[in-house]
Symmetry: C2
Subunit: 415 residues, 2 copies
Amino acid sequence: MSTSKVVIVGGGFGGLSAARRLSRTPGIMVTLVDKRNYHLFQPLLYQVAMAGLSPAEIAYPLRALLRHDSVEVLLGEVQKVNLEERWVQTEANRITYDFLILACGSTYTYFNAPEWEAVAPALKTVAQATEIRRKVFRAFEEAERTQDPKAHDRFMTFVIVGGGPTGVELAGSLGEITRFSIQRDFDHISPQNARIILIEAGPSILPSMTPALQDEAIRELGELGVEVRVNALVSMITEEGITAGGEFISTATILWAAGVAQGPLNRKLGVELDTQGRVIVSRDLSLPGHPEIFVIGDQAHYKWGAQGTPLPGLAPVAMQQGRFVAKVIRARVAGARPPEHFNYIDKGQMATIGRSRAVAMYKGLEFSGFTAWMAWLVVHIYYLIGFKNRVFVLFQWAWTYLTFRRGARLMIEKE
Amino acid sequence: MSTSKVVIVGGGFGGLSAARRLSRTPGIMVTLVDKRNYHLFQPLLYQVAMAGLSPAEIAYPLRALLRHDSVEVLLGEVQKVNLEERWVQTEANRITYDFLILACGSTYTYFNAPEWEAVAPALKTVAQATEIRRKVFRAFEEAERTQDPKAHDRFMTFVIVGGGPTGVELAGSLGEITRFSIQRDFDHISPQNARIILIEAGPSILPSMTPALQDEAIRELGELGVEVRVNALVSMITEEGITAGGEFISTATILWAAGVAQGPLNRKLGVELDTQGRVIVSRDLSLPGHPEIFVIGDQAHYKWGAQGTPLPGLAPVAMQQGRFVAKVIRARVAGARPPEHFNYIDKGQMATIGRSRAVAMYKGLEFSGFTAWMAWLVVHIYYLIGFKNRVFVLFQWAWTYLTFRRGARLMIEKE
């Protein structure tokens, strides 16, 4: 039997799930290409930004995860895919494939104002998370040492743009830090009086949740001192502050959690994309006209349900798609009949707001408060990859829960 | 009773010890100024560089350490001291003092070749440690993906400059990583065959230890694959490699652990400095002619012993000096007679080389191997500040000891 070479681009939830299902399969060799050397547990990245966790607690070396398997890991950023000759090109290597799985994830966009990025960092990478951490704790230090009341107010005002789960989680954590972690640390300022404003362009936060849960989230955020402003489109961001819904807010700290977009690769594929730039895939997640190429996770637009809306960019979607594609490839390599179309099993949605505060929906049921928070905790611990990280994170959370302390409150200097 | 204002510059071992001893003292208000918001447990920084620990495990927020005390913490870098008017100036504040304690530590020098810094990072800050980590693990990834044998050899060669404790610890950890942590992670390279070369300009490594321990250290390093070269002065460093002792070594990774120096502040004080730029202090650690100013730790040159050699730049020295200076100030404020001169209690010296490998000397006794390593472990855990960090680091080490795994093996992208 000849060997089929499967190349997977991206070691996130989708790519990693596919790699694991394809490993140790007779007749299949896997090469996983990623521009980073670690798998990142993205749903907890906001905890790194908010000093609750260290990067190593939510990131794990890909080589260690795929060590014993028939999987080669290669560092590199794929810059080109040649669909006809079947190879991908990184800055260092050309890799040929029999099957290709694209699982590159998504990135942030500042729409038509890329200059906002310098002022309002987004939360997608570990470096961005530590930069946000530095920025937030720097603001308190600046407020502490200034003698100018206007500067004080500006440093004590924090604006988060984007009312999706990430924006809600950032705002909630920030509320908790100011109210329960550092409220006694300073001599000249009162962190518990910090203004935290969550701004959403649309009519509601957490748009994929029910109105009841949206209201509950706003109520729980309010308990932590977070003001929520909806229907507030951002029109300007400068070092001085932000203009949203026509109103200017003087602030030194703006965090960006809005505007999902795709990297430059999709446009080079020459296939149909949706308005967000995602690849519109066939029923088996393959590229139309290319049954040997699959696109999964945030990079793919897969129509689902009665309305045919695209599946959301969630870890469970990517993981299920990774496993499905692995099954298709294994069947094809073995000469068996592959499954014809991908079925999504809805794992529900959740967003955490703070200690004992969260909202969740699962199969028509709605949860909030402590129950939702416990569910969130259990699910996230369960999925955190690597035994050590799981124990560490549990311990860290138990510690934070009991003491309200945040150990990772470091401003690592930029150099 | 009027209140005396004590300003401490620097939150390292010396400054923190002084701040703690001066806190909650009637008649004394303390302001601690540091350019970072955390106390760093410097002796373990090489573990961050070598992926054994995360930054938050060896760094602790100064505000959290000094929260309950009569101590104000202020972020800032002192740029000027006015000895006559008794104030210090940071980029944001002017702070007056009745007593001043300078505890700014030391920095690295590249002698007359500052351009080497871009190629050969030193290990002094957390940012430098994560940069070294990135560089080291990047080299293995580059070796893995190159097809050029010369490039492979260059990426698989690691040079550490400086045979003091930091250089020995870096070289030993690197030996251990390549032999026991990542030796099975790659498909195309054999990390256990990596060349690790420790270069020292002087006639021996660990110059402050006995010849027997120096030999033992060389033997233990050799077991981990580290070549030691003494009497090898570095004459050139470029992207291509390093020339030391007249020989060129092709390498992509050079780490700098040589050349201690002082920041720019000392030269502005207008007092006598030694050849390293340290302030030569009086018997009570005060600045000659200024009994209200003290200089401690790495920043000070305090003659000690029969030969009158300066005390080494070790944490116990700084801590004892911090406590001594606090005692002097407390006595003076209380109108009592202060102690006249500082007595150093020798706590010995140790350097760890790897798992179960270390050398240590204490009161004329010499230890090596497992015994020295256990002693090193106990001492470092004991001094690690903050209960949580202590438990965490213990757990992390136990894990690494049992599994040889290194969880913090992340290459955080530079942005």
